[in-house]
Amino acid sequence: MRTKAIWISAALLLVCAVLFMTLETRGSWEFVLWFRGRKLVALLLVGAAISTSTLLFQTIARNNLLTPSIMGFDALYTLILTLSVFFLGSVGFNQLPPEVVFLVTVVVLIAAALALFGTLLGQHRADLMRMVLTGIIFGVLFRSLTAFGVRMIDPNEFVTIQVKSYARFNYIDVNLLWMSLVLSVAAMAWCWHLRRRLDVLALGFDIATSLGEAVSKRQTQILILIALLVAVSTALVGPVAFLGLLVVSLARLVAPNERHATLIPLAALIAGIVLVGGQTLLERVFDLATPLSVVVDFVGGFVFLVLLLRKART
């Protein structure tokens, strides 16, 4: 039963991947395989990173509505980048090896996330509305600070940031692909290792503690994992607002139970289907009329509203 949903989505994802690789191929096969193969790997990676970070966040926040991006994680990432361009100048910034920029940003993001969200989660009796509001305020704050930083920057330098502050699935920053791959595979292996503990954490502070989990310590670890995964996906494709919410909600809908051993792979597979399938449709069938991120955010935003209204009613 548990494997059925996973097998079906794996098969669907395989179909999407094959179509993505083979539709409308021109030129040498070798080039196409290399070019599209890298993109495929990046999309799968981004999907898994976003779905896993969302799932982890929902588990430690004990709420199926919140996601790292609603709480402003990816806005924070862009803000850090903007500030570094602001202080270094785009010339200085572009001279730095992208790997170094990425690693430094990851470390800063982890530190900032722990400082901001660690205290919020530490109050384990904090109510939902306060969390949502704080998240929205953080998100708006980071975005406005980014916008402010951008205004302070020379128009020429602005381009450097602009590329990095919008979601883009057709242009993927493959420079960082291999490093992201290693980091996120390690992070996800760790999540998988924690899957049974995550089930217990989802029961809330009191029960998890009485079952012997060191909740605060574990929340800190998980927050670090979330920051890492968000950094990977944001570095590769930019901030995507509602993808995480969309795919995790879908996974919960089709999963026979809420165990992380089921949800982690299922959500990652669904994210892969949405990204690879969506990109194939838009790029090859509709000739890229609308960016995928717009569609995903539209549908995901709709899901967010439905969930919020449903919650408000009960």
Binding site: R197, S210, E258
Partner: protein, 250 residues
């Protein structure tokens, strides 16, 4: 033996526990009674490390709460908190199986499955085992939670108002089960109850709390008197003796 020494707890300027020193004996059933807001739940939460100790010291046998390994304590002591909220969709069986987590780390062995089945059976939940918790009645859900605490199979069981939501037959069955655990399995039961008659009928030892302090402790037959009800509970009820046990007329 649970020993609590000089435990104080403050929130802002409110002193919720004031220098509480009390020893809960090993074995048998101890009932913690006292008016609403006396600090009973706060005291139990401290023993179960759900609240951080500000001043004072608590130990459960050789384990010092707050300093010992949390999972070692989870194999020694289980708590049923007064209120629990569930965010996840769980079946009754999954929920009860979580009680085995301290022993199995989530990988259930056959002895764990047996214990889960036993807990389900003990609370009459076997027919409901595959139902989701959010489809149950309040009392059924409560039973599932007590069953989870039971499945944890620890030497010490702390239960904060376990009779909430239970009908008279379920309440009596639960008390009889707890009595049996104390008498025949060597467990130590600490229970918060509001119904003094239940406490007097089933418990070996009473601890009475008032305004964040221990008011008195002792055997039910010595303690439950008209004076206690006036002094601690501020109510004027008649106490009768029925079959050698005190009985508060409602």
């Amino acid at each position: 033996m649970i020993s609590i020494e000089n435990l104080s707890y403050e929130v802002g300027t409110a002193r919720i526990l004031q220098d509480v020193t009390v020893t809960l004996p090993k074995g048998g059933m101890t009932a913690l009674i006292g008016p609403n807001g006396a600090g009973k739940s706060t005291l139990l939460s401290h023993v179960a490390r759900l609240l951080p100790i500000q001043t004072g010291k608590i130990s459960v046998d050789d384990l010092e709460v707050g300093n010992c390994d949390s999972s070692a304590l989870a194999r020694r002591l289980a708590i049923l908190p007064q209120q629990v909220h569930f965010a996840t969709r769980l079946t009754v069986r999954d929920m009860v199986a979580f009680g085995r987590y301290p022993h199995s780390q989530g990988r259930l062995r056959s002895e764990d499955h047996n214990k889960v089945a036993e807990a389900l059976e003990a609370f009459g939940l076997t027919p409901l085992q595959n139902r989701f918790l959010d489809t149950l009645s309040g009392g059924q859900r409560h039973k599932a939670h007590v069953a989870m605490t039971y499945a944890q199979d620890t030497d010490y069981l702390l239960l904060d108002e376990p009779l909430n939501n239970l009908d008279i037959s379920a309440a009596r069955a639960l008390m009889a089960l707890l009595r049996d655990l104390a008498d025949n399995s060597g467990k130590t039961i600490v229970i918060v109850v509001h119904d003094i008659n239940f406490a007097a009928q089933y418990a070996d030892h009473l601890v009475v709390m008032k305004q964040g302090q221990i008011a008195c402790e002792g055997k039910p037959v010595d303690l439950v008197t008209k004076a206690l009800l006036t002094d601690v509970f501020d109510t004027d009820a008649h106490v009768a003796l029925i079959e050698g046990k005190p009985f508060v007329m409602p």
